[in-house]
């Protein structure tokens, strides 16, 4: 038994982080089951632990003037952009020795991205030495996560809409000259909605990690076990 929470409206990065940290603490303490967040962020550029600020092509004040926040995140990986039109998946799950697959968590996240592309008729693949999921138009999914007490934080972002302009302000993942793709750039008018893509990612996540997700749109009241973890008295 695990939960998938779907947030309809874009969340500021800090709010998403606070949510992840609350769920993580609760998961470490075994107060909640594995929980996966599906959401969009308000425009933000985040630097991973190894993120180099020279992969940032604009000054912080220039970013703020464009309505883009800047954060140093504790996840692995380099610099990336999040914004509306992109589905972010944050699994807060305990990595067990069973059911984790023989290829590890990174491989599983890549598998979710590749399978989500396939669900909409887009071919995607891994590239040796370059993590994430790649398509004919470029990189469509970026990965960066952290494992604390063997419970995961952060995760993967998957581009649905084109015009994710924030990517022009960075060298995504520190890979110079690599284009950023979206389902829109590959499918045009046939592009599925954000809700459909988040649903397909949840489907793939279930198949790849062997978990069953109880899906909760986050306008509804949270299950008691999660509400208690998120709003400690």
């Amino acid at each position: 038994m695990a939960f998938a929470l779907f947030f309809p409206d874009p969340l500021p990065y800090v709010e998403g982080l606070r949510l992840q940290e609350a769920l993580h603490a609760a998961r470490v303490a075994d107060r909640i089951p594995d929980t996966v967040l599906f959401l969009q962020h308000c425009p933000v550029i985040t630097l991973g632990r190894r993120g180099r600020s020279n992969h940032l092509l604009a000054r912080e004040d220039q970013l703020r003037a464009r309505g883009i926040d800047l954060f140093e995140a504790s996840r692995g990986g380099d610099v990336t952009y999040h914004g509306p039109g992109q589905v972010v998946m944050y699994p807060i799950i305990r990595l067990g020795r069973e059911g984790s697959g023989s290829h590890g968590y990174l491989h599983n996240l890549e598998e979710v991205a590749i399978g989500t592309c396939a669900a909409f008729g887009v071919e995607a693949w891994r590239r040796e030495g370059k993590n994430g999921a790649w398509t004919a138009a470029g990189k469509i999914a970026a990965i960066g996560f952290k494992i604390q007490r063997w419970v995961t934080l952060h995760g993967m972002s998957f581009n649905v809409e084109a015009g994710l302009g924030g990517f022009e302000l960075i060298v995504p993942c520190g890979l110079a000259g690599e284009p950023v793709a979206s389902l829109r750039s590959l499918l045009g008018e046939a592009t599925p909605s954000i809700v459909q893509v988040a649903g397909a990612m949840a489907d793939r996540f279930e198949a790849v990690t062997g978990r069953v997700l109880e899906r909760i749109p986050c306008r509804d009241p949270l299950p008691d076990v999660l509400a208690a973890a998120l709003n400690p008295a």
Partner: protein
Amino acid sequence: MDTPRNLKYTNSHEWVRVEGKQVVVGITDFAQDQLSDLTYVELPTVGDSFSGQEEVAVVESVKAASDVYAPISGTITAVNNGLLDRPELINTDPYGEGWLFKMLPDDATELESLMDADQYDQSMPDEE
């Protein structure tokens, strides 16, 4: 997964080898596999003291960062500086050249609370 019989294990996937009065600590084959190719290691300083389960080191791959915890309370007596240039040794030889640090336990009886190889192999994920 490879689980050497002669080591002790924690539920956070560290292994411990008793070497005289000291213990040698690393991360297990399972742990290195979950993190993929490691690219960076942050090691403690010799002389630092830690309590059991306290964060001691950080290992990072291209896309992931994970803490490493003190299996027991004690003082750091040595760190594997060779990993700073070659963190990939943790992937290729997690129980050998990929060791992380050595500790002098505050109380050697704490070692008895760690898992043996069979218990580690049988330890199931805490999920339904």
